[in-house]
Symmetry: C2
Subunit: 297 residues, 2 copies
Amino acid sequence: MSGAFELAAWSAERLARVEQALSQWVVADAPAGLGEAMRYAVLDGGKRLRPLLVFAACEATHGDSGAALRAACAAELIHAYSLVHDDLPCMDNDILRRGKPTVHVKFGEAQALLAGDALQALAFELLAPEGDAVPAAVQADLCRLLARSAGHAGMAGGQAIDLASVGHILTETQLREMHRRKTGALLQASVMMGAACGAAPPEANAALQAYGAAVGLAFQVVDDILDVTSDAAALGKTVGKDAAHAKPTYVSLLGLDRSRAYAQQLLGDALQALAASGLADTRALQALAMMVVHREN
Amino acid sequence: MSGAFELAAWSAERLARVEQALSQWVVADAPAGLGEAMRYAVLDGGKRLRPLLVFAACEATHGDSGAALRAACAAELIHAYSLVHDDLPCMDNDILRRGKPTVHVKFGEAQALLAGDALQALAFELLAPEGDAVPAAVQADLCRLLARSAGHAGMAGGQAIDLASVGHILTETQLREMHRRKTGALLQASVMMGAACGAAPPEANAALQAYGAAVGLAFQVVDDILDVTSDAAALGKTVGKDAAHAKPTYVSLLGLDRSRAYAQQLLGDALQALAASGLADTRALQALAMMVVHREN
């Protein structure tokens, strides 16, 4: 509890474990080039925000770090698979991701489809290891949280709303609902998976739910802002693509200034939830919320 | 144990529960047409072989039928999602399935992609319900079995081999390995998920593994035979498509007569495994193995 909290150092230590674990668990020996495509989609890229949220929530609730490592990697695999499928020609038809050719550009559409499918299955496989290193009750909780956030009530459902919304004007309520599912659900689930590795009392759990919801939405608001204010080199992906696809965004709905104010308000909500959580040390969670809102890519 | 075993009556009772449960669990209210596409992909169609294998193995090991119902539906959802993705233009580009337009023909490619993704997530969600109706240890076992059979070491890996094998001549060993993953893994996992709902002693578990492997492979050998001997009306899907796609099959490798003999041999292996299992009543498992080999569609 004493001393200044250094997010960079805290993150670096945890990300080193995540990268090593992903490199071990995302198998190179899957047959017929599938492993290569899976590794390309997952390794050496991305902010790893979801793994960091898992660790931060796990540590705040004094959870088991072995279980958290599995949950962190599983959340990242779901995120990675969603990007692979999102980039496909029948979806966003994107050719650049994290500054590199997208998976289907490099490996072909069929292999990209399969790699995404296999990454989703692998996420659940990681959560249910044999033996008793992770208690069965924790395994079941993690599978439940991840499955709900990835499926029709979460990410996939948000994508469907996104598809249907192209060229339409959404209300702020509709836009929030889309993003709550599409991006927010998995970010919030990452927080709750971290908490499921520990033993948070009910009031702390409720506070972490609120924190996760605010951070999840803030992430998307900032994403919408960066899509119009950043350049491809900083962002590592195509910019201005939401406008090009006539997709509704917070910026198109609220304008830039009100979008920025909204992101700040959500940051305030997240920090307030932590303050009311009763948890002794939430510095990593606080720092991650600030990073989400103040990031430049 | 007394009286003749009637597979038709036994199946009808279980399938009624499966259809009702699928109709309840595959949500119509998923947003923006996603639920409609998911239901179209799953309901009113298919032999439901995987659910029947789950129930048969569960009953042979005196397992919990509530857990088995979830496992049965989860296995069917994985099967259904794989068909949706398989039929996409970048894979088999098929327009007919179970006598109806395929999901992407009816709902568009993007929605079909998402429906498949959401069905996979829903499968794991079904296996990890809240509360203690299904013990956490059973939930974890079911998630592990299903994830392994669906991912790179199972179905998705088999698909990758399938993709890479088009236009190539495979050895019998390579063909068996492809089918062991592509179709066999999920059929075998269905048997083992049924057993995981019960409490089979280790020797029974080993026997059920062998049974599942033999039935899984027999299913594919018969599939290859029907692809050349059946017609579209009986099969409910495009016939002769393996040959049209220059895909290696048992018939192209062994010829029709040796393929039929091989299917009979696998049936013998499956029945022998059951006889050695020490389980008291394996009549449903026996009848399903015979149905797999003697089916006409």
